[in-house]
Symmetry: C2
Subunit: 357 residues, 2 copies
């Protein structure tokens, strides 16, 4: 248990959740589901009885350090600050070297800060099993979600059924990684039964992933290996700033997992969603009897269905004749957009910002 | 000039403008057009150079006295408080007796507090002319608006063209009053050319309207006549409470104007609207290039037209795919309703309130 660590990746900016999320307060720091906890608080608590709390590290953008401290109440040496966004590979290398310096035998679970998982008991079982498996075996373990629809918004991992690992239920060798597919291909993936959504949750020994960095991302590995003495010192931030500016932006999937030979997948039925869009929030929330999903607020709906409402706490909404819209209200901004057009939000915001400058 | 008085009737509750108007702050006390002034402030200022400011009285509900004082800054003896809503006849009798006690030769213009008038120069010309006419003649003068559409939401006044009064432009004897008509009849009214919208603005000598009260509403008249010594005394409020509870609710139109013989109409082209509905606000406001009427706020509209937005100052709205809706946002409530269904707001609010109790 004391060798178990968690790296929470909290560097996202969640621009699609405007106006609820903003650059200064991205999605992971919001109570986007109206549960009373922010997404990062839920993520942190989810690992609470899986590993020692002091073994949970958060990697975030430097400007969000105080938000992490405020929301999780953890000590500053557990909050790793990135000066620049460089995708997941540098982030994971940073967290891993930090952990490696204090525990050479560490086994690490890596998780995004802003996903939701409904089945906490099953999640715990799966992660515990993953820690056991990767403690025994020099493996890079991914968590795969069995698709229930041909979603084109996720990456897929193909499992090799013939290599089912003895003693571990629903654990397979990985055959291939697939980028977000077109709808036709997504339908085939769904039908085939051996493709899983890549949940972005990984488990491995610190030494195993470092060995993979040595092989596939040697520049990143070398930068950290050479400077490991600075981690935990007063020069840490300066050191990190220096090396980050030399890194390319690269994901752990593309940089390592798609290339390595020792990658496995644990299929998990844990009620997972990455809450990547307002639409996914609708799918995840339970719509009320009028067919509207409501986060906070008091809604009185007439001849209205298929809408998502995200409201300030205590706000009353009277709505009539609205079908399949997203309505997000905050004190200084209101969004009303057709659900099927939400991918346009980013473009519209670009136009608004260009008008303001 | 010093005989000229104005009675501003400010007793309305404007329930149709929810959530902007509430019982505690009805429409006349709101800047519903986003001009920087509330409707009652605009009304007060409109008469500023037509009669002495100290000759302007406001009749309002007792609970709104402090709002009147705050918004107009007039002395308390100019604010007449009604304990109960009893429509316009008791309200006008109260104001008239109050004025009569200080000036027997008073000529009085009566006006609602919550209408808008765009053409202020023409309004001034018409009211001045009306004061002149009623000073000379024992007449009850109404202001009529030439219809530009077959509106079924207004009462109509039929002018008798044959009795055009010499020397006063567009001033006629009244032939009949018509309640809000069905659409077919409204179309005929529009076509005929001798029907005008009843703007609820009246001008008459104090003595002339009192004589009409004596004839047509003798109970109301007697109550005030007998208690006139109490007006302006410490017993005024008590006296008014007593007599108001004995009054029936009755309008000046129904109680007097439809019956009297000496009723005239001044046709006026003054850019009038009673702002009775959100729809009328749309007609009155100038929709922007995207066909949306926006009161306050910064709107970014895509594939959206025919909407009315009433927003808190400074609020940003991003809207896509919304056609012909009313969107009213306030800090604690949001309304989104199809423009054609706005008459349902009252019913919906009844349901909300019954759920809360």
């Amino acid at each position: 248990m004391r060798d178990r660590y968690v790296i929470i990746m909290a560097g996202g900016i969640g621009s699609r959740f405007w106006p609820l999320s903003r650059e200064e307060k991205p999605k992971q720091f919001l109570d986007i589901l109206g549960t009373g906890e922010t997404l990062i608080q839920q993520t942190f608590r989810r690992f609470g009885d899986i590993c020692p709390e002091e073994n949970i590290l958060v990697v975030t953008n430097a400007e969000h350090k105080s938000l992490v401290k405020e929301q999780l109440g953890i000590s500053e040496d557990r909050i790793l600050c990135e000066p620049l966004r460089r995708n997941t590979a540098p982030c994971i290398a940073y967290g891993t070297y930090k952990i490696l310096k204090e525990n050479e035998n560490a086994v690490i679970a890596v998780t995004p800060a802003d996903h939701v998982i409904d089945n906490k008991a099953e999640f715990k079982r799966v992660i515990n099993s993953g820690f056991d498996f990767t403690s025994e075996k020099e493996a890079l373990l991914t968590i795969g979600i069995k698709p229930d629809r041909p979603d084109t918004g996720y990456g897929y991992i193909q499992a090799d059924n013939d290599l089912n690992i003895n003693g571990y239920k629903d654990l397979f060798k990985v055959k291939s990684f697939k980028e977000k597919p077109e709808i036709e291909l997504a339908r085939e993936f769904l039908k085939s039964g051996d493709f899983f959504w890549n949940a972005g949750i990984f488990i491995w020994r610190a030494k195993t992933i470092i060995k993979a960095f040595e092989s596939y991302l040697p520049d990143i590995n070398l930068a950290f290996a050479e400077g490991i003495s600075r981690l935990g010192s007063e020069y840490e931030n300066e050191f990190i700033s220096d090396i980050y500016s030399s890194f390319n932006s690269i994901s752990i999937d593309y940089g390592i997992l798609e290339k390595a030979e020792n990658v496995f997948i644990q299929s998990a039925d844990i009620g997972w969603s990455d809450l990547g869009t307002w639409g996914s929030l609708y799918n995840h929330s339970k719509p009320d009897s009028s067919g509207n999903a409501v986060v906070r607020g008091n809604i009185f709906a007439h001849e209205s269905e298929g809408n998502i409402f995200s409201l300030p706490s205590g706000k009353t909404v009277l709505v009539q004749g609205l079908i399949d819209f997203i309505v997000v209200d905050t004190p200084d901004a209101l969004l009303i957009i057709k659900k099927e057009e939400e991918q346009k939000i980013k473009q519209y915001l670009g136009e608004i910002n260009s008008l303001k400058t």
